[in-house]
Amino acid sequence: MTTPATATLLMTPAPTPPRKTFLRQLRASLAMFANAKSAAGLIILGIFILVAIFAPLIAPYDPTAQNLTETLEPPSWRHLLGTTHIGEDVFSQIVYGTRGVLVVGFLATIMATVVAILVGVTAGYLRGWKSESLSALSNVFLVLPALPLMIIIASQFQDPPLVLIAAVLGLTGWAWGARVLRAQTMSLRNRDFVQAARANGEPLYRIILVEMLPNLMAIIASSFVGTMTAAVLGLTTLAFIGVIPVSNLNWGTILFWAQQNSAFPDYWWWYVPAGLCIALLGVALALINFGIDEYVNPRLRSAGERARALRKKGMKAHSAVTAVRTGGEDTP
């Protein structure tokens, strides 16, 4: 602190700053994941990703290998999650199923989110017929009920490739995010800070990227998570109905076979794990979203903390003003 500012500047080696700023920027951009909720969600998601990558190493059996001497066995050390009606190992099916779910889920979500941001923010910022026609586009995709559309397109193919399924899920999934983003952008457009930026003559891309996008991050994040959850649910639902062929092994396929071979309610090891995996993946995504939400919108993060701190002092958060005022009267 005693060193003069000029001396500090001279002491800093010239070539390091760009590198340092890059690392710092990287850390800053990842800061939204540096809280307990996001970390927990990312760890769960990471485990699922590792399982998907190393599926052949983790799975003790071939997921479709039949063993007619060990059918419908309850969980044991030989078969961690028991076996199916034709002696397939359920645990191995879950492990390989993770791959199918994650690959399709991520592909579909990335496609949908990119389209949602482009269409939503543009439609929200523009006015008049341009905004209306973009909104009409997303509305057309919104009103078409997604699941029937997916069923029809998927049933056209004997063995639809993963990319096609992902594209269909993405095609039916972007409109939700686009519409919410448009609504929020329309609301932001009338706020003072955006009006001020426009009055200052800031270019359009800067208004959108610097002024608006940080305020849209919560909605983009929640739309990403919502789309991913919807994509996973859509995929497993299609597989459960039997539209996606068995060759695309995923958690829904397991439930399809369990339902087809009347596993309910006796053979719980056949249908409970797959459903729990879908739910666990959904919870992981939701946790990541909570973390991002609280980072972007400090009100969400601090609201609980502040309320708890107030309660320790014997005050209620939802009547904070009154409590402070009486405190002020007591000690003038």
Binding site: P145, L147, P148, W176, A230, T236, A279, L300
Partner: protein, 355 residues
Amino acid sequence: MTADISTIDPTLVGTTATRAERGRSRVPWRFLGGRVLFYAFTAWAAITINFFIPRLMKGDAVTAYMAQARGQIQPEAEKALRLMFGLDTSTSLWDQYLNYWGMLFRGDLGISISSGMAPVGDVIASALPWTLGLVGTATVLSFLVGTVLGAVIGWRRGGRLDVLIPITTFLGTVPYFWLGLIFIAVFSTLLGWFPAGHAYELGVEPGWNIDFISQVVSHAALPAITIVIASIGGWVLGMRNMMLTVLDEDYITVAQAKGLPDRRVLWRYAARNAVLPQIQSFALALGFIVGGTLVMEMVFSYPGIGLLLLNATNAKDYALMQGIFLVLVLAVLIANVLADIAYAILDPRVRETEA
């Protein structure tokens, strides 16, 4: 909501500005007119897409029907059948399109081959009340309970009610159909509290009597509970997050500083503003919920639109599929219009910039 605003005593909440605003026409006709035009366009686009989807598929109704009949129909009859189904491949696509619109305006949705050549309109009309009753009630219930719960959780932030957030999130991520299957296994097969499926027992004659109505209620209870539990998480979370944002606004502080009762600040100031995104989500979620209940009806063998659509898909009954699509699309559109009207009434900012 409208009644709410009009019954508020202006001397309690109003400033001169709000009174002046209320003095003018409260119904934004220009805004609504624009919306009607816009939704008419959306309906046209959806119907046009609906026209093209089945025609892009391999095979058509007549081919499927001919295969089903296994040569019992003379090949010469195919031409007549094609004319009857509006699938005459000898006419141009444009003529087929005009013909399709003509049929729509006459209320003629074609003939369903999977339902014994009954008119599609009649087949849908017999299934629609079941779906509307089950899905409509369950969805509205889920929205209302979830929104109120979210508002209270957001208001009592940091309190014990925060525990509900992870629970509802978990339930919201569970697939509808899986939850339905588990509930059937537990509450129907093991405990025997609810019937396992269908809308009523086979022996019961449908009619307006106590016996039939109690049958319908007991059969709808489990699927309805499943839909509410599976969909409530989104409403709770959305409302709670908006409440936390709104509660930091200056007008909340002012309202509390004025010494207004907590209940008034909660519902009239905070919740009234926080509910705006909820109304939009409600219309948006309808398409998704329709998809979810479609599978739910299959799990519960509930005789609604969803089960009908699945049967139609399996039987390649294109006329019925098109008809169901049309009904679903129109239902979601009407919900969107209603949400827009509610939104415009509640949020003057949107009304002003749009009109």
